[in-house]
């Protein structure tokens, strides 16, 4: 039975402390009312640390039972992460009903596309390290979907409060580093994984500590209540104008194309 390395335990301690601070801030500043799923996510993560310490001290980090229990707990927190992110996006886009409708479709489409790509890319490797593939596939899908939504938000110049931006950015950053760490580790230590286990355990924890620091900074001030009041309902205006604008833009593009295709005449 193998116990956790000292550096890993120190990082876990830092992570637990920061999660506790984040949780206290969420309750003290009233953020739990605005972001209940995010609060649950932080609480679940904190519980997971305690759970993993308990599991690894009983069964060790190299036992089959310990591995299954650890990964099962990870599934729960990953589900909570997805819900917390959707919640932050929904809060940000609440005044923009139309854009939110577009965003959740973008989220679903991007997720489906990435899941399909991951399945194709990792085809045949599933039996080797199923948990790692699943975890990486999840983070890949998650990061791609959230970035697609953030792109949409930027495209429509929708103002996002700094705190929400930091929370979303933190989630994405963590997922991106997870993908990078898993990919590098898989290629470098495929045959001698257990020799590099402390590195594999400490690297994601380190990135999570960084993300938690960002979140603590974001939660330091109370979360904004409402991003912006929505404008007047203008569905008919949109329905009437949108095709017309597109028609004009298309016309303009055609003119440009004709201009481009003109015989080159030296001046």
């Amino acid at each position: 039975m193998r116990s956790l390395a000292l550096n890993v335990r120190v990082l876990w301690g830092c992570s637990a402390l920061l999660q506790l601070i984040a949780l206290i801030l969420l309750f003290a500043k009233g953020g739990f009312r605005r972001l209940p799923f995010f609060t649950v996510y932080v609480a679940l993560n904190l519980s997971q640390v305690a759970f993993l310490v308990f599991v690894y001290s009983i069964w060790g980090s190299d036992s089959a039972k310990g591995t299954i229990l650890a990964w099962s707990s990870e599934c729960v927190t990953l589900l909570a992460q997805a819900l917390a992110t959707t919640e932050v996006l929904k809060v940000t886009l609440r005044p923009y009903q139309g854009i939110w409708g577009l965003a959740w479709r973008a989220l679903a489409f991007t997720s489906a596309l990435v899941v399909l790509s991951v399945a194709l890319v990792t085809h045949g490797d599933w039996s080797l390290a199923m948990w790692f593939e699943l975890n990486r596939g999840y983070h890949l899908t998650f990061a791609a979907a959230v970035i697609a939504c953030l792109l949409l938000i930027r495209y429509y110049s929708i103002p996002v409060p700094a705190a929400y931006k930091m929370i979303l950015g933190g989630f994405c950053l963590y997922s991106c580093t997870e993908i990078l760490i898993h990919t590098v580790m898989q290629s470098l230590v495929k045959k001698a994984f257990y020799a590099y286990e402390p590195i594999w355990q400490s690297a994601p924890t380190l990135s999570f500590v960084v993300v938690l620091s960002i979140w603590v900074a974001a939660l330091w001030k109370p979360l904004p209540i409402e991003v912006r009041k929505a404008g007047p309902p203008s569905d008919s205006i949109y329905q009437r104008l949108s095709p017309e604008i597109n028609e004009r833009l298309r016309e303009l593009n055609e003119k440009l194309l004709r201009l481009w295709k003109l015989e080159a005449r030296p001046q």
Binding site: G98, Y155, S157, G231, P232, D235, I237, P243, L252, Q267
Partner: protein, 192 residues
């Protein structure tokens, strides 16, 4: 590292870069509210200066200069005029972008947004940018397809007039909404 892993690694790097870009401080991006001001001041449209630009670029002027002045002077005038044309093209693009953003503001305020419509507009915007760059290159290389700029301006102008009317309409509706809300908040205090 095999190909799938390399692809995954590259994709992750791309995601990090995109994340950095998307979370960058958008101070340089004009806010929708700033754009709304544009509709109130139609004189700011660069398309209105097209007759002057066309006059400045008239072939007759160049021919006259070539027949009377020196070659050096003619070349210098052409260079100056090309600069004007390039500046005008850039302003035209500015007008296009402002109108394009106004269209996005209308979309962001709508309770229901058509994905196909928005995708089409995005496509059109990208195509416009690409073609604009190509035409700009044409100018820079010494070719001047000026006659067609007139119809370009016409399209932008027509679109802006249409949008101006709509933005005014939206403004009136917003004012009406605010008035209604305030009278409801007042619980009939403003009624006789």
């Amino acid at each position: 590292m095999n190909l799938p892993l390399l692809l995954l690694f590259g994709f992750a790097i791309l995601l990090v870069l995109l994340l950095t870009w998307v979370l960058r401080d958008p101070r340089k991006l004009p806010l929708p509210d700033v754009d709304l001001g544009y509709a109130e001041d139609p004189d700011r449209r660069h398309v209105t200066y097209f007759p002057q630009v066309r006059q400045a670029m008239a072939a007759e002027d160049s021919a006259f200069l070539a027949s009377r002045g020196s070659q050096a002077l003619t070349r210098r005038v052409r260079r100056e005029r090309r600069k004007i044309a390039l500046a005008y093209l850039a302003c035209l693009r500015g007008d296009f972008l402002k109108l394009w953003r106004l269209a996005r503001v209308i979309a962001s305020m709508a309770p229901q947004v058509g994905a196909a419509q928005e995708l089409e507009r995005l496509q059109l915007g990208l195509a416009f940018s690409w073609r604009y760059e190509m035409i700009r290159m044409k100018f820079l290389l010494g070719f001047a397809p000026l006659p067609d700029l007139g119809s370009l301006s016409e399209v932008v102008s027509r679109l802006s007039i249409r949008l101006e009317t709509t933005m005014k309409d939206l403004g009136e509706r917003a004012a009406l909404g605010a008035k209604l809300a305030s009278s409801l908040d007042g619980r009939g205090l403003d009624t006789p």
